[in-house]
């Protein structure tokens, strides 16, 4: 059958999401109660996590002058909220494909995307005077939407291209219209499977721009995250990766926070 995408395929994808590895859930649980040293000790046991953390925090956007390599040092510098956010970022990368087909991404550019979002989300939360580690962690789930799109549509790249020369439909709309499920619903499923705090999924849903939250605080965070996403997706490397229009940018949704965002990010 030449179906673009079916409900079965989505269920299959959700089914195949692995549970959070034990080391990671323990690390997160320890970070949750502020036990940075104990968490670092557990995390040392996962070499891939260690290498990911090293790689991320040594990116220029984190601004450390000397290379940091020790996990307890990394957790110490990042503090509880950012450490937890970074471990979640790592967990999301576990879902990413070995080879990207639909989007022109690779491990390096995807990590760059995560790092940029995380760092700027931190700037936004500081500006909004928010210090809640779940809200810090929420940004980690956002790039999962890219991974889900890749997983569901990679095989259908020709059909998608054909469709998109006739009508400018984004992937989220295609998914909703064909299966009644959004990319962000699937992200929510990931969050549930990994026992992430409920507020995280709520913020991600609002950040889709098409499902505003009735909770005013969550909705405001959704707006900031939606705009931040498109701020990042306007970067040349992500435009070239084909990400700029993978979901629909809802200008009206973010209109009331735009000026504040622009001045915070120094948009001129």
């Amino acid at each position: 059958m030449a179906n673009m995408i079916t409900k079965d395929k989505i269920d299959d994808f959700i089914e195949k999401i692995p549970p959070a590895p034990k080391v990671l859930s323990e690390t997160i649980a320890l970070l949750n109660i502020g036990e940075l040293t104990k968490a670092a000790k557990i995390a040392e046991g996962d070499l891939a996590l260690k290498s990911y953390l090293k790689n991320i925090v040594n990116k220029p956007i984190y601004g450390f002058r000397n290379e940091v390599s020790d996990i307890s040092q990394i957790f110490g510098i990042l503090g509880v909220s950012l450490s937890q956010q970074t471990v979640y970022n790592y967990m999301i990368t576990l879902l990413s494909p070995k080879k990207w087909v639909l989007f022109k991404l690779n491990a390096k550019t995807f990590h760059e995307f995560q790092a940029n979002l995380s760092k700027k989300w931190e700037t936004i939360l500081k500006h909004l005077n928010i210090d809640d580690k779940n809200i810090y962690a929420a940004i980690s789930l956002l790039p999962a939407s890219v991974i889900v799109t890749e997983a569901l549509f990679a095989e259908k790249i020709d059909n998608v291209n054909l469709l998109r020369t006739t009508k400018a439909l984004d992937f989220n709309t295609i998914l909703i219209r064909l299966c009644g499920v959004s990319l962000f619903d699937i992200c929510e499923k990931i969050a549930k499977k990994w026992d992430m705090d409920e507020s995280i999924a709520q913020i991600i849903q609002a950040s889709s721009g098409v499902k505003p939250s009735s909770d005013e605080k969550i909705n405001t965070l959704g707006k900031w995250m939606h705009l931040l996403l498109f701020y990042e997706l306007s970067k040349p490397e992500f435009i070239e990766a084909g990400l700029n229009d993978f979901v629909d940018f809802q200008i009206e949704y973010i209109s009331d926070i735009y000026d504040e965002f622009a001045s915070l990010m120094g948009v001129e």
């Binding site: 059958m1 998109r164 009508k167 001129e268």
Partner: protein
């Protein structure tokens, strides 16, 4: 980023922030190449989903577009903006505004040479007097009825009466317009507007694909509005002579109206008449003369016998055409599409009531036309992915059916390319009832296939 092409306009829709860095990334070398090869009248960037732009960001698009324009004469510019963005663009570029600005894409469609939307009443206002008249002239040439508001006050008063106008145009600026030959349809005649000096470039400016498509779908009368032609040279003469002989194959008529021969050699006229071109002094000489219209073949396309038979090449590739339709329907509906019966004869439609149709032509190594006929409700289901809402808006449904058949056409093109058969596809056409379809294809033999998805039946017809 790829452009979406509809009604002769190619639109790029970037999202987010446009500056010098990002704008460059939106258009890869292949994208520019692809846009250059598009047979589009206009190439526009929609600013609907752009929250921020600066001069550099727009500049890069403009520079790229002018490169494209050099090769294909398309109109280039921006569309879909609010007054704040419009003012910013005017401020950035004040006296160097060579590109065009259309407040909405719908307004841009009015200026494209596509055959849709003619005879509309359009209220126009621009604070710039010369723009007001430039807009009015372009619209008039395109077969519309422009109404100019002379002052902002007059505009505001007039626009209150919304029902009086089909469209209202403000915050729009015409830069260098495309030099394509404008096209419009009046009844069963197609009118092309040509002007000034006609030379070898007429071959680029004239949309030969559109013309061939029109012949294929049954138009038999083509009128060149030549009032504004100053002169033509031998290359243009050759072009029109060839056009006339290909029209003769279809039993179609080509007429020139208002052409003066004071600066063009009189012998050209004789050559053209020999090729079968007819000359008239006034447009009304043709359009108001019912007898003549009938004689010229414009009264009903069905009078013309089409002798082009289905050939072996087409029949051999029949499975590809059916596949393209089945794949597209499955992709759009998530349902399995099934072939029920195949037969070769003239198109037979039982129970014409409530059925709509769309067609798309292809030409190249092989040529012909695919027609899909749907009961209205089933057309809606087939187009659900494209429409996204429950609607009874007939215009929207037909419009979307055109998009669907366009996707089928794209799929045919790729499936045939796998067999090393190269074809191009024409613009899609829709028919809001079976009678208007039959006017075009009655008496034509073809392959008829009954298809269904989810138990909903529709009809596929392949003809030449």
């Amino acid at each position: 980023m790829k452009a979406v092409v509809k009604n002769g306009i190619a639109v790029f829709s970037p999202q987010g922030f446009l500056d010098g860095n990002s704008s460059n990334a939106f258009m890869s070398i292949e994208d520019i190449e692809a846009a250059t090869n598009l047979k589009a009248d206009m190439i526009l960037v929609s600013l609907k989903k752009v929250v921020f732009f600066n001069r550099n960001g727009l500049d890069i698009f403009i520079k790229l577009f002018f490169k494209i324009r050099k090769k294909n004469h398309a109109t280039v510019g921006f569309c879909d903006y609010d007054s704040k963005k419009y003012d910013a663009i005017k401020r950035f570029f004040h006296d160097e505004l060579y590109f065009s600005l259309f407040k909405t894409l719908e307004i841009a469609y009015l200026f494209s040479s596509s055959f849709k939307n003619q005879n509309k009443s359009i209220l126009i206002y621009s604070s710039d007097k010369s723009q007001r008249s430039a807009i009015a002239i372009e619209l008039h040439d395109g077969g519309h009825n422009p109404i100019i508001a002379q002052s902002e006050q007059e505009f505001n008063e007039k626009k209150e009466k919304k029902d009086a106008y089909d469209y209202i145009i403000d915050s729009t600026f015409l830069g260098q317009m495309g030099q394509k030959v404008a096209t419009r349809v009046t009844g069963n005649a197609i009118i092309y507007t040509i002007s000034s000096f006609l030379d070898v470039e007429i071959g680029d400016k004239f949309n030969i694909e559109y013309h061939n498509n029109s012949l294929n779908v049954g138009f038999r009368l083509f009128i060149f509005d030549a009032y504004k032609v100053i002169s033509m040279n031998v290359h243009a003469l050759n072009f029109f002579s060839k056009l006339a002989s290909s029209a003769a194959e279809y039993n179609a008529s080509i007429c020139f109206v208002g052409m003066k021969f004071d600066k063009t050699p009189e012998i050209f006229r004789e050559t053209m008449e020999d090729a079968g071109i007819l000359f008239y002094a006034q447009m009304d000489d043709i359009l108001e003369n019912k007898e003549l219209l009938k004689e010229l073949g414009a009264s009903s396309a069905s009078n013309v016998k089409n002798k082009r038979a289905l050939n072996k090449a087409t029949v051999l590739e029949l499975p590809k055409f059916i596949d393209a339709t089945v794949i597209t329907l499955e992709m759009m509906t998530n349902a399995k599409a099934v072939k029920e019966a195949v037969s070769v004869h003239n198109l037979i439609i039982e129970d014409k009531k409530g059925k709509i149709a769309s067609s798309i032509g292809y030409y190249g190594d092989i040529d012909g036309m695919v027609i899909l006929v749907f009961p209205q409700g089933i057309a809606k289901k087939a187009c659900e992915l494209l429409i996204g809402e429950n609607t009874d808006d007939m215009e929207l449904i037909l419009d979307t059916l055109a998009e669907l058949v366009n996707i089928v056409g794209g799929k045919i093109k790729t499936l045939l390319a796998d067999e090393l058969i190269n074809v191009n596809i024409t613009l899609p056409r829709t028919y809001q009832d079976v009678d208007s379809l039959l006017e075009v294809v009655e008496n034509r033999r073809g392959v008829q296939v009954d298809l269904s998805f989810n138990g909903d039946k529709f009809l596929f017809f392949l003809t030449r």
